[in-house]
């Protein structure tokens, strides 16, 4: 079980309030991802849940129980850190055993759990090595193993993949997602990478400056961003936000159109521009276009086999059903 509720939680560091009163519910078994630009308070929020920081006011509840004043180790949560935080002078086996040893668990029970965790994380051959002799991905797996053996009610991940290279990151992303599907335990995952958020989460929490901008499923956020910030943050490449006369035609201050919802043509279309850079990925081409009123450059995503070059004239037609409209305050208009 692991239903986590934040009730009007705030956090001040000195005189600065980094988290204004915030309410959030994470249901049991959910994979929640906190995403936002760096410095938005997502890590602080995770540390408040873990108990590594004290709430200035408000309550943290786990399974209906108020744990605001409960020490971190008694909350039944396990955390995986960005720097892995392995104990460098202990072997992998001892690292994984450490929380059980602290809990005074019997030797046999420890060994069964270590064996099971090592098996599921492909660490069996490395149990007698020290962390310094492992690669980044293996170290992160040890850190996850140390979390699993505690049998926690929820896992907390603090940017666990940022120290890995791109290829490994994709692999570990899949492993963690699969682990969640298998164990069905609540997981809270902090990242600044919206791709990780989109691919892993059941529920994404978008944060900016300590404030929750929107909570929803990945596709919810993609199709119905509630404001300009979320619209620009979720999706890759970023949504094009167009201001001025073009937006006024739709009765909005700003309109947004995703790069994949724009039709490209060399001969005719609604907007005319000049190709700046065309990025060929093979499957897709991202074209950055200059000279369109209210949005410079505009990015469009089109098929892999187009041959636009720098300086070519290009015509664009947005899919009218996919245009997002925002008012002067940046909020969505339906």
């Amino acid at each position: 079980m692991g239903r986590i509720v934040l009730d009007k939680v705030t956090k001040n560091f000195g005189d600065t309030q980094v988290i204004p009163p915030l309410d959030l519910t994470i249901e049991d078994g959910e994979f929640a991802v906190f995403v936002g630009p760096s410095g938005c308070g997502k890590s602080t929020l995770l540390r408040l849940i873990a108990g590594l920081e004290d709430c200035t006011s408000g309550r943290v509840m786990i399974d209906g129980e108020d744990v605001t004043e409960v020490s971190p180790s008694k909350r039944g949560l396990a955390m995986v850190f960005q720097t892995y935080a392995l104990y460098p002078h202990m072997t992998v086996r001892k690292n994984i055993a450490f929380p059980m040893r602290m809990a005074g668990m019997s030797e046999e029970e420890q060994n069964t759990r270590i064996a099971a965790a090592a098996e599921s994380l492909n660490l069996t051959d490395y149990l007698d090595r020290k962390p310094g002799q492992l690669s980044g991905g293996q170290r992160q797996r040890v850190a996850i193993g140390r979390a699993i053996v505690r049998d926690p009610s929820a896992f907390l991940f603090d940017e666990p993949l940022s120290n890995l290279d791109a290829a490994l990151r994709v692999g570990m992303r899949l492993e963690i997602t699969e682990m969640h599907a298998r164990m069905n335990t609540t997981m809270i995952y902090v990242t600044h990478d919206q791709v990780e958020a989109m691919t892993m989460a059941n529920k994404i929490v978008v944060l900016q400056a300590g404030v929750i901008e929107q909570v929803g499923s990945p596709l919810d956020l993609y199709h119905r961003p509630c404001n300009k910030f979320v619209a620009g943050f979720i999706g890759s490449p970023k949504m094009n936000l167009i201001e001025g006369a073009e937006a006024a035609k739709h009765g909005a201050t700003t309109i947004g159109i995703r790069p994949e919802h724009v039709e490209v043509s060399a001969t005719d279309g609604l907007w005319q521009g000049t190709v700046g850079v065309a990025e060929h990925l093979g499957s897709d081409t991202f074209i950055h276009i200059h000279g369109i009123d209210g949005c410079d450059p505009m990015t469009v995503r089109t098929g892999g086999n187009v041959s636009f070059k720098h300086g070519d004239t290009i015509y664009l037609t947005p899919d009218a059903t996919q245009i997002h409209k925002f008012d002067a305050a940046g909020l969505r208009i339906d």
């Binding site: 971190p72 602290m102 140390r146």
Partner: protein, 312 residues
């Protein structure tokens, strides 16, 4: 091969200089230790200049081994060095952990803690033996005297007077005496060198990974367990370094021993060498060779220990 000749040629002045630097004193000591060589002798004036014709073989070594102070000096050297190492490492770790927390006035406290290390050894010895440990005029004498006065006063008090009349009169300890002079040296050198240990341990503690500590907190480790399983292993290397450096320094203590009791009841090898060197250079050199051997034995143990922690 020819491409190695030039580098070797260029290295040679430095290598030769270092060899001379080491070998000349060592071979002169060896030479003097095998001949009769005294600074002043009316009876045998030929012994006052070093010469192979005064060859004594292992006679100097035999003389040193049979002198009553030799074994005592070795024992005492080890007692002093080991006690100081033990005390400075323990006090150093405790103080370093204590002041590693943030508190107001941290900067001043740290500077004050380091300051004993800047006192000259001879000044340190004079200060302690005369102003602190002296049984009459020192702090010790004043404190014991004050305590005695207090007890004497309380003896006349109503109700509890009978209890205090059971108390004996306290006697201050004289740290210049044969039995206690080694302890005086241990106390004053520990006071002077604990800051060194604190300094090294403190810098090491500041490089300790905070996320590891947080992970340990979440893993349910108590403050003691964190210290035992994270901080202490983290300090392994600096402890080895502190032990090695201090062992080298404290095997050659001299000023403190001279000032506390002029070697009365408290000699170490350097002090013994100094005593022999007042006249008998041959015996002093033989003792010097013994000191080199002892230092090497200690060094082998220490290098093993340091090597082991560095390998991890």
């Amino acid at each position: 091969m020819s491409n190695r000749t030039l580098p070797r040629l260029l290295q040679s002045p430095a290598v030769i200089l270092l060899l001379i630097w080491m070998l000349i004193p060592l071979s002169m000591t060896l030479y003097f230790s095998f001949i009769r060589y005294v600074l002043n002798s009316l009876r045998r004036p030929e012994w006052t200049s070093p010469s192979f014709s005064n060859w004594r073989g292992f006679g100097n070594y035999e003389f040193v081994l049979n002198s009553k102070d030799f074994l005592f000096a070795i024992q005492n050297s080890l007692l002093i060095v080991c006690s100081i190492l033990f005390l400075t490492v323990i006090l150093g770790v405790l103080i370093a952990v204590l002041i590693n927390k943030t508190f107001p006035g941290q900067g001043i406290v740290r500077v004050l803690l380091i300051s004993p290390f800047f006192v000259m050894p001879a000044v340190n010895a004079v200060l302690w033996i005369n102003m602190i440990l002296d049984p009459v005029l020192g702090l010790q004498g004043i404190a014991v005297g004050g305590l005695n006065d207090l007890v004497a006063g309380l003896r006349d008090a109503p109700v509890v007077g009978w209890f205090f009349s059971l108390w004996p009169e306290f006697n201050p300890i004289s740290f210049r005496a044969t039995q206690t002079s080694a302890y005086a040296v241990i106390i004053m050198v520990t006071w002077q060198w604990t800051p060194f240990a604190v300094l090294i341990f403190m810098t090491s503690l500041q490089s300790e990974d905070q996320q590891q500590k947080e992970a340990a907190i979440l893993d349910g480790a108590s403050a003691w367990s964190q210290f035992r399983f994270l901080t202490l292993p983290h300090l392994g290397r600096p402890i080895a370094i502190v032990v090695m450096i201090q062992a080298i320094f404290h095997l050659s203590l001299y000023a403190e021993i001279e000032i506390v009791s002029r070697g009365n009841g408290n000699k170490n090898l350097p002090y013994l060498i100094g005593e022999f060197a007042n006249n008998n250079i041959g015996a002093a050199s033989a003792t010097g060779i013994f000191a080199v051997i002892l230092a090497n034995i200690v060094a082998i143990f220490l290098l093993r220990m340091v090597g082991k922690t560095l390998m991890e």
